[in-house]
């Protein structure tokens, strides 16, 4: 194998002038986490709203919920990012479009919004399943006690539903972080993107990608541990999700 190994490459200065190659990768990691978190917040908020809509008795609400999920589920994430990044600014009035295009960190905001909406469809489906798995008696008892729909959801249904879907939500969060790598196509220099930059400047393909792989494994490990602690912290003893 005529490949020139150099594991010391991580400590050599990178051409961006921002330190070593390791610093380059770590800045990518930071961007991955930031983008992932913002996207996840967007996904949770919008996904929860749509998930609740899908379980409401109103036909209009459930139709909207259905259309929303189908729209975001049937297009590849990459295509959705392209639509947000390339197509949206052209469809808006010229000034708004220009402002969007020249926004500093445009790839970051676009990626967070694009990935957020993509994942919100999945959150919505999970939440619908979670609410659907609750015994019907819960809702009926709430109505009998005179609670409004809003109060029913807020105090009775949602607290239990979220606890139930905490494990699948964990894997959706990890998916969100993994999906940030797709944003290298719109110029976001997150972890995978920086590994690629490192490979382009230093020609050390193996070293760069191994480092990125190790870092992704680390993130995964940390999240799994944190979510497990969270599950234990909010568990209600004796109930389905309380183990």
């Amino acid at each position: 194998m005529n490949y020139h190994w150099n594991w010391g490459i991580f400590f050599e200065p990178n051409p961006m002038g921002t330190g070593s190659y390791l610093d380059l990768l770590l800045s990518g990691l930071e961007l991955t986490i930031k983008t992932g978190l913002l996207a996840w917040v967007i996904a949770l908020i919008t996904g929860s709203i749509v998930g609740v809509l899908r379980t409401l008795p109103s036909k209009a609400a459930s139709w909207f919920g259905f259309a929303y999920v189908e729209f975001f589920r049937n297009m590849p994430l990459l295509v959705q990012l392209f639509l947000w990044f390339f197509v949206l600014p052209e469809l808006l009035p010229r000034n708004a479009g220009l402002w969007l295009k020249q926004l500093p960190n445009a790839p970051f905001w676009t990626a967070a919004v694009g990935i957020g909406f993509f994942m919100s469809a999945r959150v919505a489906v999970q939440l619908q399943a979670g609410i659907g798995s609750l015994p019907r008696g819960q809702k009926q008892a709430a109505t009998a006690l005179g609670l409004t729909t809003v109060q029913t959801y807020r105090y009775v249904l949602l607290p239990m539903a979220f606890r139930i879907i905490l494990p699948p939500l964990t894997s959706e969060f990890i998916n969100t972080l993994k999906n940030t790598s797709v944003a290298i196509t719109i110029g976001l220099l997150e972890l995978t993107g920086q590994a690629r930059s490192m490979e382009e400047f230093s020609f050390q393909v193996f070293e760069a990608f191994t480092a990125a792989t190790v870092l992704y494994l680390l993130i995964n490990l940390v999240i799994v541990i944190v979510m497990r602690l969270l599950e234990q912290a909010v568990a209600i003893p004796g109930y389905i999700s309380g183990k």
Binding site: M1, N74, M75, E90, L91, T185, R196, Y216
Partner: protein, 230 residues
């Protein structure tokens, strides 16, 4: 902007988009699904085999592939498959692997991890009476799997497997990152060459949407049809 929407560029590039781009995408999807299913079933069987070492290897493989972003996996295989092939076959220099074969290997290996989890759930959902009865009839492990367990598991999980295939169909668009020309890549090329980003990307989005929606709808019909009454 809406005013000068250029439908002509879409019309002119239809042959290129579908003959070159879509055939690549569909071929890659079909072959990767088939290969991933075979390989994934093997991994599922390894995990359920009861041999600790096999189970550990299979488990590590699945966890590893599911932790990494597909984009990173694509980069790994794109640059490294020739070196691996050289090491495996003891050749003098890295073996040339074309773009299609490199993507095929990537997706088979990646999807196998996901298919294996689905098949594992399917196999575990078969009641214990089935393999027990097979054993009582004198069938070997191989025969039990081939004639009794796997057909039932496959039938039970068919909707989930098909849904995963639709996800795979969408994921193939990521070969864009190594400049391989699939459907999205072809649309991109035309968009950049003619400066018609809006038209081409909207068209590509529409095509993916229609194909995925129709496929999901068919899977739902299938699911209703083959529901087995226990």
């Amino acid at each position: 902007m809406i005013g000068n929407f250029d439908f002509d560029v879409i019309w002119r590039s239809l042959p290129y988009l579908f003959r070159d781009g879509m055939t690549f995408t569909l071929l890659l999807t079909a072959l990767s699904a088939a290969g991933g299913l075979v390989f994934g079933t093997l991994i599922a069987l390894m995990r359920l085999s009861g041999y600790r070492v096999l189970g550990l290897i299979a488990g590590l493989y699945v966890d590893f592939m599911r932790t990494l972003p597909l984009v990173l996996v694509i980069f790994w295989f794109y640059f490294l498959v020739p070196y691996i092939a050289q090491w495996l076959t003891g050749a003098a220099s890295p073996i040339r692997v074309g773009a299609f074969h490199s993507s095929l290997i990537t997706f088979i290996m990646f999807e196998a991890a996901y298919f294996s989890e689905i098949m594992r759930a399917g196999i575990q959902s078969i009641s214990r009476g089935q393999p027990a009865a097979a054993q009582a009839l004198g069938l070997t492990y191989g025969q039990t799997m081939r004639y009794v367990v796997l057909p039932q598991a496959f039938r039970n999980m068919l909707p989930v497997l098909l849904t995963q295939t639709i996800v795979l169909f969408q994921d193939t668009s990521l070969v864009y990152v190594v400049s391989i020309t699939d459907f999205l890549g072809a649309a991109s090329k035309v968009a950049q060459r003619d400066g018609r980003l809006v038209e081409m990307y909207l068209f590509a989005a529409l095509v993916y949407f229609v194909i995925s929606s129709v496929a999901s709808f068919c899977v739902r019909l299938l699911q209703a049809r083959i529901a087995v009454v226990r």
